[in-house]
């Protein structure tokens, strides 16, 4: 067949052109709501100037929120060929492109293609930044009490009642991009484990995992320097274990064999190759990725009686709540509020407490902006 993108002949087998890599399959229209979601929430950050680049989504300019003042260009022929054009206007679509099996040719680009600087956004962003700086420098709410969810107390109790010779597996499944939030949860939990004197074995499904673990332990060491109690043995590590679900399946059967360097892991952790994940009294996963947590539940928790405790980013917490309610996650700690609550239980002044004023001010500021925008929209509607 002839490729619609480069015009060269390509074998019929396969979904893409052998020469240019363009898609050969006819466009498949997603369900209505799905296309709306895809259009409004982009899965990846936008990098190009004035252009939305994503292999699956090309937004029509009509979908842009007006208040952003960004003028999107029409897709270039090559970009449209590589991307999947989501057309929300079903009535306007005559279906000619679908009949041919190829997306319809894009219209010619308009003259004004550049995004415009947005003064309103500059003022809002500067004001929020100023509030955060002020709240960080003048932390008047630093001693404010935190709302305590039952899960926080439950997690605290799990660690408190661990036997002295307990062994805890800690998984570091987040990247440096979310380190700022995850460290809030990692520091108090890690400190609590070390204060209890249990043996900690670290591992990660992500390449950056060992590094973020080192960072969290360095921060935790600041508290330990002030603590007179014995702090247990030094943590050992299974390192980065690639393979996601596959790696966790083998980890459930033998943590030592699942690691990249079995003999060294056996030496470091003191575990035998025939010991399963049941050897651990508690499994703690620090996660900023829903898929990682789901893999832990589906591949490890179902095969083990070890309690699974997940400390997750606030962004993925709503998706993990069902697993907490079903008891598959014994306790789910999420984001800044739970970190603050855990610090209160430990009677420690930590990074979450240092954020109280700035976080409160910023949240009130965002609430104010949203209310003002809603008010403006309602007034505008009445006027029209």
């Amino acid at each position: 067949m002839i490729c619609p993108h480069c015009g060269q002949e390509t074998p019929d087998v396969g979904d893409v052109c052998e020469h240019c890599g363009g898609a050969l399959l006819p466009e498949v229209r997603p369900p209505r709501l799905l296309s709306q979601i895809q259009g409004l929430i982009l899965p990846e950050p936008v990098i190009s100037v004035g252009r939305l680049h994503h292999p699956d989504v090309t937004l029509p300019p009509a979908l842009l929120p007006e208040h952003l003042d960004v003028v999107l260009p029409e897709p270039e022929p090559q970009a449209a060929a590589e991307g999947h054009v989501v057309d929300l206007d079903e009535e306007a679509d005559d279906g000619a492109g679908q009949q041919e099996g190829f997306p319809p040719p894009p219209p010619p680009p308009p003259p004004a293609l550049q995004a415009q600087p947005n003064l309103t956004m500059a003022i809002i962003a500067s004001a929020m930044l100023a509030l955060i700086v002020a709240g960080s420098l003048w932390n008047v709410l630093g001693n404010a009490g935190a709302a305590m969810r039952p899960a926080v107390k439950e997690a605290y109790t799990f660690i408190e009642i661990l036997p002295d010779d307990a062994q805890v597996l800690v998984a570091w499944d987040y990247d440096p991009a979310t380190q700022g939030e995850m460290r809030l949860l990692a520091q108090p939990l890690l400190h609590h484990l070390q204060r209890r004197g249990v043996k900690i074995v670290s591992m990660s499904l992500r390449p950056f995992g060992p590094d973020v673990a080192t960072d969290a332990m360095a921060f935790s060491a600041r508290w330990q320097a002030l603590d007179s109690r014995s702090l247990g043995p030094a943590p050992s590590s299974l390192g980065f274990i690639p393979g996601d679900a596959l790696a966790l399946r083998s980890l459930a059967l033998s943590p030592v064999l699942a690691s990249s360097q079995p003999s060294m892991s056996a030496q470091a952790t003191g575990m035998r190759q025939d010991e399963t994940v049941e050897r651990f009294d508690l499994v703690i996963e620090f996660s900023a990725d829903y898929a990682s947590s789901r893999h832990w539940i589906e591949q490890v928790a179902v095969r083990s009686s070890s309690r699974l405790l997940v400390a997750a980013s606030g962004a993925i917490a709503p998706s993990l709540r069902p697993y907490e309610q079903s008891g598959q996650i014994r306790a789910l700690l999420a984001g800044y509020p739970d970190a603050l609550a855990y610090e209160s239980l430990l009677n420690q002044v930590g990074p979450a407490r240092a954020q109280v004023t700035a976080q409160t001010l910023a949240l009130f500021f965002i609430l104010g902006v949203v209310l003002l925008a809603a008010l403006r929209s309602i007034v505008g509607r009445f006027r029209s």
């Binding site: 369900p31 709501l33 799905l34 979601i37 929430i41 950050p45 990098i47 190009s48 100037v49 600087p117 956004m121 500059a122 809002i124 962003a125 930044l129 955060i132 700086v133 960080s136 420098l137 979310t178 700022g180 939030e181 460290r183 809030l184 390449p207 950056f208 980065f240 690639p242 679900a245 596959l246 399946r249 990249s260 360097q261 079995p262 003999s263 789901r294 893999h295 539940i297 589906e298 591949q299 179902v302 606030g314 962004a315 917490a317 709503p318 069902p322 309610q325 079903s326 598959q328 999420a334 984001g335 800044y336 990074p351 240092a354 954020q355 700035a358 976080q359 910023a362 949240l363 965002i366």
Partner: protein, 219 residues
């Protein structure tokens, strides 16, 4: 001197990323690419150092099982690479490891999802509590959850039967389905709202931590 330069650079890079909310300028793009490139390079180096090289270490290869695993892995990677060669026969052989990888991964994911997500979540419906102190409302919460779930399915997956019913004028079926779909639509909107709201909160925490990190460096 080096530390001061590092602090200055960290501040400038952070502000360059943050300024995206105002205007997607060239500096933002440059810094984004720098960040992604450095991350990708670092990951490649880690995988090489922590996974590939240890697998080829003499000590690991003395174990016949490990040696066999390494050889099979190398063979499969080679065949996967051949999948992209142009000769048809080579491509067919290349499909073998790709199919194995996708098949094993798919089977594992499917079994895990059935055993770890679908069945436990279905069983957990009976644990739903509308108001914890009023057990009489438990049944109501189960019914509501079931109706809402079906409403979401109806909204997302319009069936031929539904289309037929919707074609009929003012029928009871049309009224029922429209109402049910509306329930599903609002449930979806609430769920998306919760996700977006909690994501904003999480990103706000990140921003504050970053600002505090820079303040700590400067003062």
């Amino acid at each position: 001197m080096t530390t001061t330069l590092g602090i200055l650079l960290a501040t400038l890079l952070t502000l360059a990323i943050f300024s995206r909310v105002v205007y997607p300028h060239a500096v933002f793009r440059w810094v984004s690419h720098l960040l992604l490139g450095a991350g990708a390079g670092y990951v490649a180096a880690i995988i090489l150092r922590q996974v590939l090289l240890p697998a080829f270490s003499f000590r690991e290869l003395q174990n016949p099982l490990h040696l066999a695993i390494v050889l099979v892995s190398v063979l499969m990677i080679g065949l996967m690479a051949l999948r992209f060669a142009t000769h048809e026969a080579v491509r067919v052989w290349g499909l073998l490891p790709l199919g194995t990888t996708a098949g094993v991964g798919g089977a594992l994911a499917l079994a895990g999802m059935m055993r770890g997500s679908l069945l436990p979540q279905l069983m957990a419906v009976e644990k739903l509590q509308f108001v914890a102190s009023v057990p009489a409302l438990d049944l109501l919460s189960i019914v509501l959850a079931t109706l809402t779930s079906l409403g979401v399915l109806l909204y997302l997956l319009p069936s031929p039967d539904e289309a037929r019913l919707l074609d009929e004028e003012q029928s009871f079926g049309r009224w029922l389905l429209s109402g049910w779909q509306l329930l599903g639509y609002w449930a979806l909107m609430l769920a998306l709202g919760a996700l977006v709201g909690s994501t904003v909160g999480a990103r706000l925490t990140l921003l504050i931590e970053r600002v505090q990190f820079l303040l700590e460096l400067w003062f």
